[in-house]
Assembly symmetry: C2
Homo-oligomer: 197 residues x 2
C-alpha cells in the first residue's frame, strides 16, 4: 500500500527497517471521489495527505464567493491545509479531488510522536518544507515579475503533465488569472506555434 510513499522517502532519507515499520503503522488509506472534499474550511486539519493516485486541489473561498486555487497535487506529492495542521486551529482551506483519488493520511499526533522517535523523519520533512518554500517563493516571484502568458509557460515547463490533466479553470486560478484570459492565451499560443511551423 505504501510503495510510492516509501520510494519517495528513499529519495530523501534513510530509515532502518524498524523505523519503516513505525512509520508505516500510522498511515491509513482513503479513497476519494472526484468533486468530493477531503477538507472543508473551518475544519481542524487532523491529517496531511500523500497522494498515491489521482489529483487534488486546495483552494480558498473569498467573502464574495470567488475561489482561488492554492495548490495542485498529483501522485507522489503531499497536500494539506498546513496552517491548520500546524496550529490545530480551524483552517481556511478546502481540499477537493479533481479526479477519483487515493490518498494516505498522516495523523497530526502520530507525526509529532514520530518526529521524536525517528529523527530522520524530521529531517525528511525539514527538507520537504525547504523545497516547498523555495518553490512558493519562485511562484510568488513569477507572479510579481511575469505576465500571465509567461507564468503559464513557466508552469508548462515545470509541470507539463499538470496543464494537460487539470481543467483550465483550475490552472487559471492557480496562476492567478481568469479562465477567459487563459483561454485567450492558449489560443494565442496555438497561433504562434502554427506560424512558426
Amino acid at each position: 500500500m505504501t510503495a510510492l510513499l516509501f520510494s519517495n522517502f528513499n529519495r530523501h532519507a534513510q530509515f532502518t527497517d524498524d523505523e519503516y515499520q513505525k512509520i508505516k503503522e500510522v498511515f491509513t488509506k482513503s479513497y476519494i471521489r472526484k468533486k468530493k472534499n477531503l477538507v472543508n474550511e473551518g475544519d481542524i486539519s487532523k491529517y496531511i495527505f500523500f497522494v498515491e493516485k489521482g489529483c487534488l486541489r486546495s483552494f480558498t473561498v473569498n467573502k464574495d464567493g470567488s475561489e482561488h486555487v492554492v495548490q495542485l497535487a498529483i501522485e507522489d506529492h503531499w497536500i494539506a491545509d498546513l496552517s491548520s495542521f500546524i496550529t490545530q486551529m480551524p483552517g481556511t482551506i478546502n481540499i477537493e479531488a479533481i479526479e477519483d483519488s487515493e490518498v494516505l493520511l498522516l495523523p497530526h499526533q502520530d507525526l509529532e510522536r514520530l518526529y521524536h522517535q525517528v529523527p530522520s523523519l524530521e529531517k525528511y520533512f525539514r527538507q520537504l518544507y525547504q523545497r516547498a518554500y523555495v518553490g512558493l517563493q519562485q511562484r510568488l516571484n513569477s507572479r510579481h515579475s511575469s505576465s500571465a502568458e509567461e507564468r503559464y509557460r513557466e508552469l508548462i515547463k515545470l509541470q507539463p503533465h499538470l496543464t494537460q490533466r487539470v481543467p483550465l479553470i483550475y490552472i487559471a486560478s492557480y496562476l492567478g488569472i481568469t479562465p477567459e484570459s487563459l483561454s485567450r492565451i492558449r489560443k494565442q499560443m496555438h497561433i504562434k506555434v502554427e506560424n512558426t511551423a
Copy 2:
C-alpha cells in the same frame, strides 16, 4: 553576542547547555553598511543570516534590469538565498542592507553537521520553514485575491513597523506594485482617514 538569537531559539526549542555551546561556536558576526550587499546573485550562498540589528532586503533582478523584493528582514528574523544555500549552487538572489546592520552568519557545513549532533536544531528549522511556508502562501493568496490597497493594508496590519521603517520603493516592490501606485494609495488612504476624523 547571541542574546537575541538564543531568545529566539528558546521560544521554539529546548537545548542543553552543551548543545547551546555547540551551536554558539559556529556563528560569526558581521557588520554591514547601508546599501552594501551581503549576497550577490551568482554567489553560492555559504551562509544563512540572522538579523541582530538593522534591516535587509533580498531581491531578484530581471533581464530588463527591474528589481523585485523577495523578503524584508528586521531584527530577530532570518534571511537567505535559501535556494542557493540548500543546493550549494549559484543563486539568483541579492541581499542588501537597507540600514546599517548586524547579522550572525550560520555556515552551511556547520549547520548540516549540527543537524546530526543536535536534533532539536533540526526541529527548530523544520518549524521555522513550516511557518515561513504558511506565511508565503498567505502572501501569494493575497496577491491573487486582493487589490494593491488591500495588500498594503494587510501588510500594515501584519508588520506595522516595516511600513514605517522601510522606504516606499521597497515596500511597493515587496507587494508587487509600482512606487507610483503605492504613493497614490497612501495619499488616498490619508484622505479617507481625514474624512473619517
